[in-house]
């Protein structure tokens, strides 16, 4: 049994996040107390939130990449839906995934590179954590959920949030599933006037403490490699303990928190475009409130799967097949049906951004205290190209980011975008990526 | 896959060929002395073979066209609606308006506030816990306006309604010509009555039930009775009506088909948007042989028509299950095989007593709110308009002509296995010798 995750300098560096000498992966009691100690009540900074949004099959560059570079870019047809939210979105074009000779696995290498900074050695190789996991390690604090993952496709297999291929975070696959997780029996309304700590919660916590303590005996009996695996289990166990402990305290009030109603009706299963959109938007509404109600600080939304793509009623072919078989319309300059699928995807992205921007928070909105990092598996799905792979970063990160820019990467690898995000979130990560993807650079044009 | 006939024919050709060549060879070897005699033999042999081959070919051709395999079509009904024709102009059908309901008749019968209060004092009983908020329950007392509080829903002849039922005044209706006359004159099996013309111009339509129900809001499009029964018909397994059309030569035109009606018991599957799916298997419910009926029929240009038979149907209508009896029942169905569906009419004379009992039990509790007619008026109209099977003593017709619009999808009708609890003791018995019953 070998280490599921390698120990690298990067790992140790990440362990220095927060400057509190915390060892990575564990929201220590100190950290948690600090967070609570600097609660909103006394005017301390509102916590920054982070999310990833991943879609499959790239974009059509002739009608996606704005002509203007810099602030206040134009909106080509594929992103016309961003009309009301463009000012919140930074768009990144002309960034190339440099593979260092590794095979650029179709529908795989692209998103892995954008989310982990590492080009995988082969298709299926998932050895590095995705950016949201790294961020959650740092900023999840004592929020009720370390992170929340959703799959708009409705499939358990669609999650772009993982510490490694052996530790993929299981997504919520329907609005009701998400609602039950977020607002089920354990939910405590932060704005409720009558708070009483539940004795059952204290008891649960103490039982789990007992489990952890007696379970340590198991560590003596297994090999070193498996100890690391069990470690990770104990980390998760400890996080649940701390989460329970936190629930014994009256949660700080969350001004914009409005507890949503249970979603009515059931969205039928399937990857039909209309169903995915409906699932996505309903889950976004629930997720937005989860952020506003401080249930979590980190989320990940898989809008569509990088390989199979979506379908549409009555169309024999799925989106993926269409990207390979549909010819480019000479007048339009793109594949019309594929264009349609992707435009709708960007419309759903705009829905997310608008939802976050609609929640008032502090002097602005929830989005102002957020960063949402969006990426895809390819630039042009037809030829599986990963040069010019598109990314978006929305939200001002509590004032540390500027928005509304179109940044031309001039062929650079995409890793500076991720590193910029990590810095904006207040981590002191020094570098991101490996090989030619390694960078220490940030995109200064969008940093304040 | 090589056809049997081709194999036989090829074989025979080979035999023929070998016989000739063989004998020629033999001839050559044996010598010329026996040539004439042997030649004749060989010729006969070959000729016989040749003739045999041709015969086989002919009979094979026969097999391919004349005695073709008979086909069977199975159907399951997915909709059963009282056929209420609406022209679009309500005034044409119901110039005076819709039915008076029970409450209106009550108010006519007890025309003063004092009379009503007195009536209420005697008959309004709300029961414990029922403080008058349930209007449906409360207003049922208005049915007790027969003598000594008789419920007029159960006893519709106990009063004469001051406001009689409004009947359809127009001349168009769905249905079939059931009595065989052009003008509705009295016959041994029917009473004198007026006829309708069908929407596509067919004369001589008998549908007295439409005359009665046509001015009921409940039975017109969007009305309660219609909407309720639409889903009830498919949801209640009791309402599983299976129709098997056998002895078919050609699905478009067949002279002498046999149509068997069965009661089924299995649910009808739906697709994602609510359409009923074809090709499911449905077991015959052989526990109740009276629901199995058989009639002769014809298919002409894809439309099936059957000869009249008397048939019992188990139906759940407005939550009440009972056995309805349609006499002189005929079916006209358009078998649209491309969509694996069919639609048309089942028409016949509804046995009045059974029909009214269904209405009494299932609808009359709701006559004040959602069903909206008045039982005594309804019953009186039905008695008056009844046009089928006169009672030999009194001359009162005991059945009323009716038509039901039906839809169906293709079904696979199967017998239950011998271990299936559906199988009654003893074997399935059909009236094999007579095709119609009386």
């Amino acid at each position: 049994m070998f280490l599921s995750k390698p120990l690298t300098r990067r790992t140790v560096l990440r362990g220095m996040i927060g400057g509190v000498g915390v060892t990575l992966g564990l929201p220590l009691l100190d950290c948690y107390l600090n967070t609570n100690g600097t609660a909103l009540a006394d005017g301390a900074p509102i916590p920054v939130r982070f999310g990833t949004w991943v879609w499959g099959l790239g974009m059509d560059k002739n009608v996606f990449v704005p002509k203007k570079v810099g602030f206040d870019y134009d909106l080509p047809p594929q992103i016309a839906s961003w009309k009301d939210v463009k000012q919140h979105i930074n768009l990144f074009s002309n960034f190339n995934v440099i593979t260092d000779g590794k095979p650029a696995g179709a529908h795989f290498a692209g998103w892995v590179a954008c989310l982990t900074g590492v080009v995988p050695a082969a298709t299926g190789s998932l050895l590095y954590p995705t950016i949201d996991v790294v961020v959650a390690d740092a900023i999840a604090g004592a929020s009720r959920f370390r992170s929340v993952e959703c799959a708009a496709t409705g499939s358990l297999k669609d999650s772009y949030s993982m510490r490694s291929g052996d530790a993929i975070n299981p997504p919520a696959i329907s609005p009701i599933d998400l609602y039950t997780r977020l607002y089920g029996a354990d939910f405590q309304d932060p704005n409720a006037s009558d708070f009483k700590p539940k004795p059952s919660i204290m008891l649960q916590k103490s039982v789990l403490t007992g489990v952890r303590e007696q379970g340590a005996g198991l560590l003596k009996k297994v090999g070193a490699a498996d100890r690391d695996r069990l470690d990770q289990y104990f980390t998760s166990l400890r996080e649940v303990e701390l989460r329970l402990e936190q629930q014994l305290q009256k949660p700080p009030p969350a001004v914009s928190c409005k507890v949503p109603m249970r979603p009515e009706g059931i969205i039928p299963p399937g990857t039909d475009l209309e169903l995915v959109e409906q699932r996505h938007n309903t889950m976004v509404d629930l997720l937005t409130m989860a952020l506003a109600c401080n249930q979590t600080r980190v989320f990940s939304m898989a809008y569509s799967n990088s390989t199979s793509g979506l379908s549409k009623r009555g169309l024999e072919k799925i989106h993926h097949t269409i990207t390979h078989e549909e010819s480019v319309d000479p007048a339009l300059g793109y594949q019309p049906t594929s264009f349609m699928f992707l435009s709708r995807a960007f419309g759903s992205y705009a829905y997310l951004i608008k939802a976050l921007a609609s929640v008032p928070e502090g002097a602005g909105s929830l989005l102002d205290n957020c960063v949402v990092y969006a990426c895809s598996d390819s630039e042009n799905a037809k030829i599986h190209s990963i040069n010019g792979i598109p990314m978006m970063v929305a939200g001002k990160a509590g004032g540390r980011l500027k928005t509304g820019y179109h940044i031309d990467g001039k062929g650079a690898p995409p890793s500076p975008v991720a590193l910029t995000v990590l810095r904006a979130l207040g981590t002191s990560v020094g570098e991101w990526g490996t090989g030619s993807m390694k960078t220490t650079r940030v995109i200064s044009e969008i940093m304040t | 896959m090589l056809s049997k006939n081709l194999v036989i024919q090829t074989g025979l050709v080979l035999v023929c060929f070998c016989t000739i060549t063989g004998s020629l060879l033999g001839d050559f070897l044996v010598g010329k002395n026996r040539s004439v005699h042997c030649f004749g033999l060989r010729l006969t042999l070959s000729a016989t073979l040749f003739v045999a081959m041709s015969l086989i070919q002919v009979s094979a051709a026969d097999q391919d066209s004349g005695a073709a395999k008979k086909k069977t079509i199975g159907l399951v009904l997915t909709s059963w609606r009282t056929a209420v024709y609406e022209s679009g102009d309500v005034k044409a059908e119901c110039p005076d308006g819709f039915h008076f309901d029970n409450k209106e008749n009550f108010e006519k019968q007890y025309s003063t506030p004092e009379a009503r209060t007195d009536f209420a004092r005697q008959y309004l009983y709300l029961g414990p816990g029922n403080i008058g908020t349930n209007q449906l329950v409360a207003e049922q007392y208005l049915l007790m306006r027969g003598p000594n509080g008789t419920n007029v829903g159960w006893n519709p002849t106990s009063v004469v309604d001051p406001l009689p039922l409004r009947l359809v005044q127009s001349k168009t209706a769905y249905g079939l010509n059931l009595d065989g006359t052009p003008d509705g004159k009295a016959t041994p099996k029917s009473c004198k009555h007026d006829k309708f013309v069908s929407p596509n111009g067919e004369q001589g339509i008998d549908n007295q039930l439409y005359r009665i129900l046509g001015c009921s809001t409940s039975w017109r499009k969007g009305g309660h009775a219609v909407e309720f029964h639409q889903t009830e018909f498919t949801d209640a397994k009791l309402n599983r009506v299976l129709i098997e059309i056998s002895n078919i030569d050609d699905e478009k035109n067949s002279d002498n088909v046999i149509v068997t009606f069965y009661k089924g018991t299995d649910a009808i599957p739906m697709d994602a948007v609510g359409n009923r799916l074809p090709w499911q298997s449905y077991r015959m419910d052989v526990r109740f042989p009276q629901h199995i009926g058989r009639a002769r029929g014809k298919i002409v240009n894809g439309v099936l028509e059957t000869e009249p038979i008397d048939q019992y149907f188990a139906l759940s209508q407005h939550t009440f299950s009972m056995e309805r009896y349609l006499r002189g029942m005929r079916v006209r169905l358009n078998l649209a095989d491309k969509t694996a569906s069919a639609e048309g009419f089942i028409a016949g004379y509804e046995d009045l007593a059974r029909w009214y009992e269904n209405y009494a039990r299932s609808y009359s509790p709701h006559v004040n709110q959602i069903v909206l007619w008045s039982p005594p008026a309804l019953y009186a109209a039905a008695q008056q308009l009844a046009d089928g099977y006169p009672d030999p003593k009194t001359g009162q017709c005991t059945a009323i002509s009716a038509a039901y619009q039906v839809n169906a999808v293709r079904a696979l009708i199967v017998r239950p296995g011998k271990d299936d609890p559906l199988v009654a003791d003893g074997a399935l018995k059909l009236a094999e010798t007579t095709l119609t019953r009386n």
Partner: protein, 563 residues
């Protein structure tokens, strides 16, 4: 100790240790590629099926254990191997925790407590350590797969005591303690441990309970039952005769053996794809959710019937005419079938002229390896190669030029004509030559698995050849597949790897070859193959050393950790 011992046992261990050291020092570098597998003890994370079987065994099938998790990473095609490296991130832990709470609540609930908790507390509103100890000790022994040590039992009873006291309810106390046990690592992780081998000093072997674990998981897809634990703890499982006895017992338990066989084939045949199987409602309106569920279950019923009920030749799953139908499935098959209301399924023997035979031609395989609105010869061929023959189909090359297949000519009405283009283009042909010829004969079945004679009005050509045999139709393909040696060798290899929980090492190739020839001698019957594996010495052999107890734990409970 001889040199032979040294080389064959300690050397690998040193190599392992050395590699790990190198690993620890390798900072700022790429992780090393996965090294060759070594016969190490495996620690598997429990999967949902094993969890359900365990709860049903310990508490009865009345107790529901709702658990829905994504499958583990597949290694060599098997999620059962990914179990050996699966981690528990916070989200997964939460899910396990929720299930644990649900189970514990039912167990102590009034409907079940009398049956499941035989002892009664002195007072129901107070803790009772004696009764709690009895119950938790007995349950703990089963769910932790080893007798609880005095310390651990003390912790469990203490938890029950404190909560029972606080809530003034004995059963609530038990509920909390049980919830804790159901998220304990000893329950969630199916651990194999080693002990010194008394016959070979300095060498380790799997201890009794670990041998029991392997047996239970392979044969029944469940951790060991009471009798197997007893055999483990008494040392019987360290003997050939003892092992054979337990194997015989377990193979003779039809329901539990069926669970095991189903679990293996569900993994090998990727049946976890079925919950996501949805067809276009306009193109295939009759492919309802029930059809999707039934079609997956049908595969398992056919396999179970052939391998277990009939104890038949494994290869006959490709040619069998005996299938199982529900009303929903029969509708797609257009087969008239009478099924009593009380049953869902009925067996059905396909008539001689039916175009279907074996699992490749049933709705499940055909529909799950198709698109929502269309069939896919390529996907079906790929599934046949990868799932049944252990042959890897390479990824499409990243820079493939798709202009050749762009906007396929609408005059090309059948899939064969459309896919022809792939096979003509040398870049595409490499893989499509491997997949398409196996999928094209199955084109007589559309994307929902329904039979069709034509596609877009054109006759479908289902002829082809495989493994040296020519055929005209799907049944011919199935017969050719039946005889291909890859079918049986793949099964043996997969089953063995599934059992040992990891990829086979180079030394084990000969073991697998021996099993293959034994399989052939047994007429390719599955149960004898299971027996052969479960009673072989190789199945239990490991070559790790006993962990050094003096090594300090670099990880802890007080808070520091690596991930």
């Amino acid at each position: 100790m001889t040199t032979g011992h040294w080389t064959s046992t300690l050397m690998p261990a040193f190599v392992v240790g050395g590699l790990m050291l190198v690993h620890l020092c390798a900072q700022g570098q790429e992780p090393a590629a996965a090294p060759p597998a070594v016969n190490a003890p495996v620690i598997r994370l429990m999967n949902a099926g094993q969890y359900a079987n365990e709860i049903a065994y310990v508490f009865g099938s009345d107790i529901k254990a709702p658990l829905r998790l994504p499958s583990f990473r597949r290694v060599d095609g098997l999620a059962g191997l990914g179990a050996g490296s699966a981690l528990v991130p916070a989200g997964t832990f939460n899910i396990f925790y929720g299930t644990a709470q649900a189970v514990a609540e039912q167990v102590v609930g009034p409907a079940h407590r009398d049956l499941l908790i035989p002892c009664k507390p002195k007072e129901a509103h107070m803790p009772d350590d004696v009764c709690a100890g009895q119950f938790l000790g007995k349950v703990g022994h089963l769910i932790f797969h080893r007798p609880l040590s005095a310390d651990v039992l003390r912790v469990c009873v203490k938890a029950a005591h404190e909560t029972g006291e606080r809530l003034q309810n004995f059963y609530a106390g038990l509920q909390y303690a049980l919830t804790g046990m159901l998220v304990a690592p000893e329950f969630l992780y199916l651990v194999e441990e080693v002990e010194p081998d008394p016959r070979h000093p300095g060498v380790s072997r799997l201890d009794g309970p670990s041998r029991a674990m392997r047996l239970g998981l392979l044969l029944w897809n469940a951790p060991p039952d009471v009798e197997l634990l007893r055999a483990a703890e008494s040392g019987e499982l360290q003997t050939t005769a003892g092992t054979a006895r337990q194997v015989g017992r377990m193979l003779a338990s039809p329901l539990r053996l069926e669970n095991g066989i189903r679990a293996f084939f569900s993994d090998m045949l990727l049946l976890d794809a079925f919950p996501d199987l949805v067809k276009d409602p306009i193109i295939y309106p009759d492919f309802t959710a029930k059809v999707a569920t039934d079609s997956s279950e049908q595969i398992l019923q056919i396999i179970s019937d052939q391998l277990l009920t009939r104890q038949g030749d494994y290869r006959d799953i490709f040619t069998t005419r005996r299938i199982f139908l529900t009303q929903a499935l029969a509708t797609l098959y257009r087969i008239p079938i009478s099924i009593p209301s009380s049953l869902d399924w009925a067996p059905y023997d396909l008539p001689d002229n039916d175009p279907r035979a074996g699992i490749l031609t049933q709705v499940g395989f055909l529909s799950v390896n198709s698109h929502p609105g269309r069939s896919s010869a390529t996907r079906r061929g790929k599934a046949l190669r990868e799932n049944f023959m252990c042959q890897t189909v390479p990824e499409p090359p990243p820079n493939v030029d798709f202009s050749a297949i762009e906007n396929p000519d609408p005059r090309l009405r059948t899939a064969r004509e459309r896919l022809d283009m792939h096979r003509k283009n040398p870049v595409c042909a490499g893989c499509h030559k491997i997949t398409d010829p196996l999928g094209l004969p199955l084109e007589s079945f559309d994307g929902a698995g329904k039979f069709r004679a034509t596609e877009n009005g054109a006759e479908i050509d289902t002829s082809g050849s495989f493994s040296g045999k020519q055929f005209q139709d799907a049944r011919g393909l199935a017969a050719a597949v039946h005889d291909d040696p890859a079918i049986t060798s793949c099964l043996v290899r997969r089953l063995y790897e599934y059992g040992v929980g990891r990829r086979i090492s180079a030394e084990e190739k000969s073991v697998v070859r021996d099993l293959e020839s034994g399989f052939k001698d047994a007429g390719y019957r599955f149960v004898p193959l299971l027996r052969a594996i479960a009673t072989s010495a190789a199945f239990y052999s490991i070559s790790a050393t006993v962990p050094d107890a003096t090594r300090t734990l670099s990880t802890s409970l007080a808070g520091s950790s690596r991930h």
